[in-house]
Symmetry: C2
Subunit: 470 residues, 2 copies
């Protein structure tokens, strides 16, 4: 998308030949300026056209990261941390040029401390990779944004996903970090204790900072015992309101559902086609329950009753592991399935999150806004948290469609903000939600964020031009 307002006033900063020489000397073949490599690192899953960095360092350890940042700091050249490229808000675009630090090869699971229910990983480890490494421990890492994102990227964007209603987001599940600061120094935040009142919460300051304060080079996360029993179900509803009311009542009753996912008819159609399912193509909820055998049965009974009272039908159980996997793989593919509704399209994705009592108004309001769309759309989301996503499938080369998509996106976001909600539940601000963040947080809070940024990154080299304008 050639988006005129994407990075207003952004100017590529000069990158001195001296820096390029230094990086070539230090990193050899692990430093690349090839056009294809730069192009690949200048984009993400958002609809924005790539804005390539001037070069890409493939880091293999925290020393590499520190060396690259130190060199860039000396020359006041931007640094953009890169995980696996699954961002949705333009986080990776080199709007002011600079050097991308690719962390995907820092992918060691440093330690699994099963007795403490913690693991420490390098930032390039993906969530699936960590869960594979945990297989024989009886533990799992619950945060699951759909994409097989890197855990460093998930920390940087404060990601969450389907399990957050039960297990929380990266905010609740990162215990500590190793960070390379804007001056190239390595610091640690947090310990492996489950709670602490020891000074400013630097861990939570970096979680969600989107690469603008430093580069995360190690993450200690919380793990959970695999539940004794699991059960999943899908149920379809006659109306959006009926489905949402079921979710609201579930949450208000305190039923500890592990997952509670909404799909509108269009999203169901998309995953039926993409994942070869035969779900009834109407508003649908997917649930998952974790607990003891008795606990899961009890939760399922309560939710089934609530769903029936709200007119839910076709309650389909997936108790066998393979059926559960099929259901959740389909849900996880929903973004790509949605894109297939219109081959060649890219998606503008909303990410609002509202207090649970406003979920029905917010979701039905979004549904009505999308009825005016001329492009295909879907809605899906982690509604147990009040968080859902509208996908607007636009042709990125058609300025009218881009404008329409952005207009409807803005209406949906502003509706959520008017309900004391947020413009982004889990994707982050990046380039695309900067104006909405200002409206949501207010000038005073933005000024405070700016002060922090200036204090920790005085030359504005860390992923500049993201979250807010300096």
């Amino acid at each position: 998308m050639n988006h005129p307002t994407l990075a207003p006033g952004a100017v590529r900063r000069p990158v001195p030949a001296e820096l390029m020489d230094e990086l070539r000397d230090r990193f050899g073949e692990h430093f690349s300026t090839a056009a294809a490599v730069r192009e690949h690192h200048g984009r993400d899953e958002s609809p924005f056209a790539a804005i390539p960095p001037d070069g890409v360092v493939h880091a293999h350890d925290a020393d590499d990261v520190a060396a690259a940042v130190t060199a860039c700091a000396r020359h006041r050249v931007p640094v953009i941390p890169y995980g696996v490229g699954t961002s949705l808000e333009g986080h990776l675009l080199a709007v002011q040029g600079g050097i991308s630090i690719d962390l995907s090869q820092m992918n060691r699971v440093v330690s699994i401390d099963a007795d403490d229910l913690t693991a420490t990983v390098e930032p390039g480890v993906t969530r699936k990779q960590l869960n594979d490494a945990l297989k024989d421990t009886g533990l799992f890492f619950p945060i699951d944004p759909g994409a097989d994102a890197s855990i460093g990227g998930m920390a940087a964007t404060r990601a969450s996903g389907t399990n957050a209603v039960r297990y929380g987001s990266m905010r609740e599940n990162v215990l500590g970090l190793e960070v390379v600061t804007a001056s190239g120094e390595r610091i640690h935040t947090g310990t492996r204790a489950r709670k602490s009142a020891a000074g400013y919460d630097l861990t939570r300051l970096f979680v969600g900072s989107e690469g603008t304060l430093g580069v995360i080079t190690a993450i200690t996360v919380r793990l959970y015992p695999q539940p004794e029993a699991l059960s999943a179900a899908s149920v379809s509803f006659p109306t959006v309101r009926a489905a949402v009311d079921t979710v609201i009542q579930t949450i208000q009753l305190g039923v500890p559902v592990a997952r509670s996912e909404f799909l509108d008819a269009s999203a169901v159609r998309a995953i039926n086609a993409y994942s070869k399912l035969e779900l009834r193509e109407q508003t649908t909820l997917f649930f998952e329950f974790h607990g003891s055998e008795a606990g899961v049965a009890e939760q399922a009974r309560t939710v089934q009753e609530l769903a029936r009272e709200n007119g839910g039908e076709d309650f389909e159980w997936a108790t066998r592991p393979e059926d559960r996997s099929r259901l959740w793989n389909a849900r996880h593919s929903a973004f790509f399935a949605g894109l297939q509704l219109r081959p060649g399209a890219r998606a503008i994705t909303t990410d609002t999150c509202v207090p649970i009592s406003r979920l029905a108004d917010s979701l039905i309001g979004a549904h009505e806004i999308l009825e005016r769309a001329t492009v295909p759309t879907t809605i899906l989301g982690h509604v147990g948290d009040g968080n859902f996503h509208c996908m607007l499938l636009i042709d990125p080369d058609n300025p009218d469609e881009v404008a329409e998509g952005e207009r409807l996106n803005a209406e949906i976001v502003r509706l959520a903000i008017s309900m004391d909600g947020t413009c982004t539940g889990e994707h982050g601000v990046g380039l695309h939600k900067m104006e909405f963040l200002r409206e949501e947080a207010g000038d005073g809070a933005i000024a405070m964020m700016r002060s922090i940024k200036r204090a920790l990154d005085p030359h504005d080299i860390m992923n500049p031009g993201k979250i807010f304008a300096l």
Copy 2:
């Protein structure tokens, strides 16, 4: 305690008569310089002798706070926010002089949004007051540090307490804040959405900032449905290790206990005397289980089995509400009960928290260190989190006892830090743990905290001299 190292180099700053006049004009009878009032506001529950502020403003709303801070900022005079005075680490001592802002009369419950499971309160509302206000809603606020602390103070120190093992600490349960900044501006952080990825996590930066970045003037917290069933039990153990092993196994199995509290024989003796209980005076665990009838029964069965395998005996159930209240009131009075072991004594209190696998080594290590004490001691704590407190009952006027208390305290803290634990799980750093924070976090992290402090409070007026030296 006349503690020579308490605030090294601290010098009272001059307070111009002009400021005092301004405050008198603005606040009338709500501004006091009476010696008794100043003395009362210059101390907390720690053993430190009072260091009174130069005056006390009784604030009644956020405008009062903003006016007081603005006036102090203009004259570069320190501001110390004061809730109800239950801090344990010297947070309230006016080590550089200045104006205490008493927030206890900002005690309105602003809103209870039962459908959203949130409430917004002024900072002087105490946890018991909030729970009283929630009585007819079927909801409760779980964070419970024992003392009937103010929710503003609990946010400022990142408090937790007995329920944190199940419900988290203030870190997890504050959704948003209103804050008066060091320049007297009012800002909001966060929304009422359950999760958000919208910019830097200012909410969590202020939670635990101990009044050093601004004054919290409103807090939006999460609420929880009252569990359908509750059950509590006490069980005594032949050894410290047997009790701790029971807790570790409970956590590692993922049993969602609501409370899991440790008391050594001395702590049991203290609460027997103070609260007229007849518990066997040996190492004891208190448990509480929350859930459905079936869920509670299942949890209780599992924990009872684990306890028996570890040699636990005298499993006493408190299923009637009055028996449960008796047990937990006794636990909550344990600090004051401990003080009664030695009338006239004050307590040096440790607050370490370690990864759960190190809990036995840490607690037994502390137990051994305390065996060398010449003063009475007790140990109690929220061991499900790895957090426990040693109380050393010293005569604050006896320099030898003060020195001994501090020496043993330091040994216990350093043992926890050596186990990748923290010097403070929930009390905060205040004056008393500054050196330990430095050892725990390292110079790099402290330098980062300092940068943030300087950026948000350039004249160092907000509760100066706490957490770290500037």
